[in-house]
Structures are given as C-alpha cells and as structure tokens.
C-alpha cells in the first residue's frame, strides 16, 4: 500500500526522474543493454496505451491485440524491403492498415456480448500468426524477415547535410520517446472529449448509453480501430528498430503481456498503462536473469504475470496506482465548476433537498 504522503513525494520527484531517464543515452558510460530495455519499455508503453482504449475505456476484453501489432510490423517490414519506403510514409500506412483490419473485424463482432468478442479477437490473432507462418511467398514464414533497413530521416531538401540514419540505440530511444509522447497526447485529449465520454458510457452500461443517444456499435468500432492503429504503429517502429521479424514474436503471450500491463496500471488509466509497461518490462528482464540462474526456462516468467493479473483483479481492481489517475481534473472547465461549487454558487438550488442525505 502506498501512503498519500509517499505519493505526493513521488510526484515531486517525477520530473527529476523523467529528466534523468530521458538524458540517459547522453551519459558517459551509458549501457547499451539498459538503453535497449528502456526503448523496449517505450514500445510497450505505446502498445499498452493503445490496448487500454478497448478494455479500459469501453470495457471489452481484447485478447488479440498483438495481431494488429503484427500486422503493423509486417506491413512496415515488407514495405521497407520491397519498396524502400521511408519510415515517415510507412507509419501512417501501417496505422491505416491496422485500423482497416480493426474495423473489418470489429464491425460484425462488436454487436455481441463482451465474452464472444474476447474469443473472436483471440481467434483473429492466432489466424494472423498462422498466416505469417504459412504464407511463405510473402513473409518467408518461420525463417523470418531479416534485413529491414533502419529508420532514416532525409531532410536534405532543407540542407544538403541533413540526412540521418537511426543506427545505434540513442536515436531510436528518442524516436520511441517521441512516439510515446504523441500517443499519450492523443489519448489524454480523447479521454476528455465527447468521444471518450461515449466510450465510458458504453463501458458502464451499454443500454443506457444507447438511450442517451450513443450509437454503441459505431463507437465500439471506432475505439477498436484506433486501438488497432496504435498497435500497428508500435509494430511499425518495432520492425524498423529490431530490423528483424518472425511470426513467433506475435503469439498470444504478447497480447497477454500487454493486457497485464494495462491491468497492473489500472484499466482505463492512461498514466497507469505507462507505469504498468515500465514495471513489467523491467520485471521481465529481472525474471529472465533470475529464472535462468535457478535453471528455469525464461518462459516461466509468465507465471508471475498470470499471478499479478489474478491478484490485481481480486484485491486492487482499479490497478496498482489509482492515486495517479487524477485525469480529467486538469480540464479548466471542470476546475472552474469545482470552484463554483465550493463557493456555494449552487447552494440556492438545494431547495427542500435538505432532508435527503448526501
């Protein structure tokens, strides 16, 4: 349990920690390994924020998220290898492809109750893996897709020497951080909007939402497509960063891991998704080392993830850090309203309400 005072203190230290982490690649003696893990954590942050839309905002269990991650990654990998397209062109294309599949899968299946949806998404992601494994003419199958060119930034039309290649760890780290920042920005804006409120209404009570004028199916499909697009974007970066893809990178375990991050941070909590991703990526690395030391295969670390999910749902269904989730309070409209209520602006409306306990 975290005390309120500790949380307040942690919040004050947060910017310092952020600056330290962001400048890490510039430190003398920065470890390549640590930088790699940090970049990986950033990739998972993108994925966790994207997944969060569906179970967190809309209350639907999505077990096939990694399918979209895989679609994005292979879209990027293939477009790079065969057409040598720039990363900056591929990102929107991959996102669009992800969203397209999301809408295609979601439109017929999101009418159903949540359980069915969960299982359909699972089946879908398994089909994606089967496709990637078996369509050798396109994906080279289990051999994988090597030799994907790293990301480049060609600004030579501005200045002849402005041509950058993202070799090495640091540039990719900063690019991933930028991606996280971008997705976070979009998420916070969506959360506090007409769209976000429609999603929350669907999560709380779909029937009442419909009677409030929300087209449930439409907003579920939108949520699913946006989530898929973000997953595909994550995959796109991953492809150009790791420069190698193979079908078994996109098995169900990945979906499970990302779901675990979202659950750990608190369903529907954007900052929580970031924290959950950071914790589980670090935990994963520690367990990989630790389990190897006691002679267990590294896959057994998933036992810990399974346990985390069960315990969180049982004892802290709002996630590990509900205190961090103070989102929406930043909205100036609500802040103004809060001040007016505190000032007793609406006290006159109470009328004969005094006898009802509040």
């Amino acid at each position: 349990m975290m005390g309120r005072a500790m949380v307040a203190q942690a919040k004050r230290l947060l910017p310092v920690a952020g600056v330290l982490l962001l400048t890490y690649p510039l430190w003398p003696g920065a470890s390549e390994y640590v930088l790699h893990v940090m970049t990986l954590a950033l990739v998972y942050m993108v994925l966790a924020m994207g997944l969060n839309i569906v179970p967190g905002f809309c209350g639907l269990l999505d077990l096939g998220y990694v399918g979209f991650y895989g679609i994005g990654a292979y879209t990027a990998g293939l477009l790079t290898i065969h057409y040598d397209l720039s990363f900056w062109v591929i990102v929107p294309l991959a996102a669009l492809n992800g969203a397209l599949w999301g809408a295609l899968l979601g439109a017929p299946t999101l009418r159903l109750t949540g359980d069915y949806f969960a299982i359909v998404t699972f089946g879908f992601s398994e089909l994606v893996v089967l496709f990637l494994t078996n369509e050798i003419w396109l994906t080279r199958g289990p051999l994988g897709l090597p030799g994907i060119a790293p990301i480049t930034l060609n600004l030579s039309w501005l200045h002849p020497q402005w041509y950058f290649e993202f070799y090495g760890k640091a540039p990719n780290f900063y690019l991933a951080a930028l991606l996280v920042a971008g997705v976070y920005f979009v998420m916070t804006r969506l959360e506090d909007s007409r769209l976000g409120r429609a999603w929350y209404a669907i999560r709380e009570d779909p029937l009442a939402a419909a009677c409030c004028g929300v087209d449930i199916l439409r907003y579920k499909v939108i949520a699913f497509a946006i989530s898929a697009a973000i997953g595909a974007m994550g995959g796109c970066f991953y492809a150009r960063w790791s420069m190698f893809l193979s079908p078994d990178m996109f098995k169900f375990w990945e979906s499970f891991l990302v779901l675990c991050m979202v659950v750990l941070g608190g369903l529907g909590n954007i900052k929580g998704a970031l924290v959950g991703a950071a914790i589980l990526v670090c935990l994963g690395e520690l367990l990989r080392e630790g389990l190897g030391a006691v002679g267990l295969p590294p896959e057994t670390r998933f036992m810990a993830y399974g346990l985390i999910m069960v315990l969180i749902m049982r004892f802290r269904p709002a996630g590990l850090f509900p205190a961090i989730a103070a989102s929406g309070r930043a909205n100036p409209l609500l802040a103004a309203l809060s001040r007016r209520i505190a000032a007793g602006d609406f006290a006159g409306d109470r009328g004969d309400n005094r006898d009802t306990p509040a």
Binding site: S193, R194, L195, C211, L334, L337, S338, I341, F346, A358
Partner: protein
C-alpha cells in the same frame, strides 16, 4: 389536440409469450399521460418498444416529426433519442462510476458533433462545444436540484437523487417526449412531493410525458388521462375519475369478483 405519438395495434411477442397484444392509443402534445396496470401488464415492454430497445413484433408507431406524422418502428435507441424520445429506467441505470456531471454530459451526445480529429486538435469549435455541453448539463442539474453534487460520483448519490439524476440525464437529450418508468418507486413521501413538482415543471417547459407509476395517488393527481394495460392488452382509457370507477380496471387490479363485492 395535436398528436405527438400514435400507437397502432402494437404487439410484442417473446417466443410464445404475448407481452403486448394490439395496444393502440394516442398521446397529445404537452400532456401527462399515466400508463398503469398490474405487474407484468406490459408497461415497461411498451416503453422498450417506443424507445427502440425492443422493436415491436407488429403494429405501427407514428411520431410527429418535422414533416408530420412518420412511422418510426424498428429504429435504434439512439435514433429514437435523436428524434426526441428520452426515457428513464424502472431499475435505475446510471453510469455509476462516472460523475453526476458526466452522466448528463454523455446525454448531450446526440445534440453535439465534435469528432475524433476535432477532439485531438482541440479546435476552437470543439472547445466552444465543450463549454456549451457543461453549461447545458449544469442547467439540467440545477433544474432537478443536483447542481451542487455535479462532481460527485453518481453511484454515491442518495436513492431519490439518483432517480432525479436519471431524469436530468433524459432531459439533457432535449426530448419532446419523456418516458418515465416508475420514477417514484422507493421514494419517501417528501421526495415524492418534490418529484410531482419536478414533473409538472418539466411539462410546463413543453415536454410531453408518459408516466408509468404504481403510486395511484401520484398518478391520479398529475395525469389528466390514463391508459390501463392488463396482460398486454389495452383495457381502459380516460380521465382518472372514470378509470377509478371502471369495472374492468378494478377487476384487473383486485381479481375477478371484486366488482360485486
């Protein structure tokens, strides 16, 4: 009288069960119509038909739109809401873990337009709309007397307040026809008196109300006209005084033989 809603031989079957059989009546603009009947008479089912949750198996629902009466059978709930038909639920269905304000803000959905792109870019249009949504929501909350609770969680409200919040939420969709499903259930006499005032205030703003209610005193005091359902059929219609004397109604409520007792 100008009709707002006309039901023509509405039937609803669930498997072999006839929940509604050939129910017809008309609702005039601006009236408070009481819909009464014993438990299981099909009152809520009729609301579900009108609000689009369960489209009727047969029959016609006519609604006075911009171009005269139009057939609205089979439209989805959100389309009914957009047409100006709003409802509350017998067993309160609020968005419990959201704030009181958010409950009402969600109901502004069908009267607002900001989409994904505008939300992300937070355009001038979107900001103005958000401001307007908060204002409209607060106006409804003041109307039902819950403004001071705006930022509380809906699930934490007292029972009577939750009922009134549901009404505020329905009003925020700018309805022309409001379907109230047992709004006084579980209220104490004081809360019920407040509710009567509230319903009368709603009608005074030009909204037509259909009221399902078991509290006969309440129904008889605010409705000029009542429709009585029993076992899914329309058995009587008329002013409260006549309904009170109607032998079929007495029989429906008290059982066969009660009329002669």
């Amino acid at each position: 009288m100008t009709p707002l809603l006309e039901l023509d031989r509405i039937s609803k079957r669930f498997g072999g069960l006839h929940a509604l059989a050939d129910v017809s009546f008309t609702v005039a603009c601006g009236e408070i119509l009481g819909l009464i009947g014993p438990n299981g008479a099909g009152k809520t089912t009729l609301f579900n038909c009108i609000s689009g949750l369960h489209p009727p198996s047969s029959g016609t629902i006519l609604y006075a739109g911009s171009g005269g009466l139009m057939r609205i059978n089979g439209r989805k709930p959100e389309q009914m809401t957009a047409l100006g038909i709003a409802r509350t639920f017998q067993n309160i269905r609020l968005f419990n873990s959201l704030t009181v304000l958010d409950n009402v803000r969600i109901a502004r959905h069908c009267r607002t337009h900001a989409n994904f792109v505008r939300a992300v870019l937070r355009t001038r249009f979107q900001r103005a709309e958000e401001q307007a949504i908060v204002e409209a929501a607060m106006e409804r909350l003041r109307f039902v007397g819950l403004a001071h609770h705006a930022l509380a969680d809906a699930g934490n409200l007292a029972y009577g307040d939750q009922r009134r919040l549901e009404i505020a939420r329905a009003l925020a969709t700018e309805p022309r026809l409001l379907l109230l499903d047992e709004p006084a259930a579980g209220m104490n006499p004081r809360e019920t008196r407040r509710l009567v005032d509230l319903i009368q205030a709603i009608v005074a703003t030009g909204v037509t109300v259909i009221l399902i209610e078991h509290d006969m005193k309440l129904v008889m005091s605010i409705c000029r006209r009542l429709v009585v359902l029993d076992h899914g059929t329309h058995i009587a219609e008329g002013p409260p005084a006549a309904i009170r004397e109607n032998p079929r109604v007495i029989e429906a409520y008290l059982g066969r033989g009660a009329v002669h007792a």
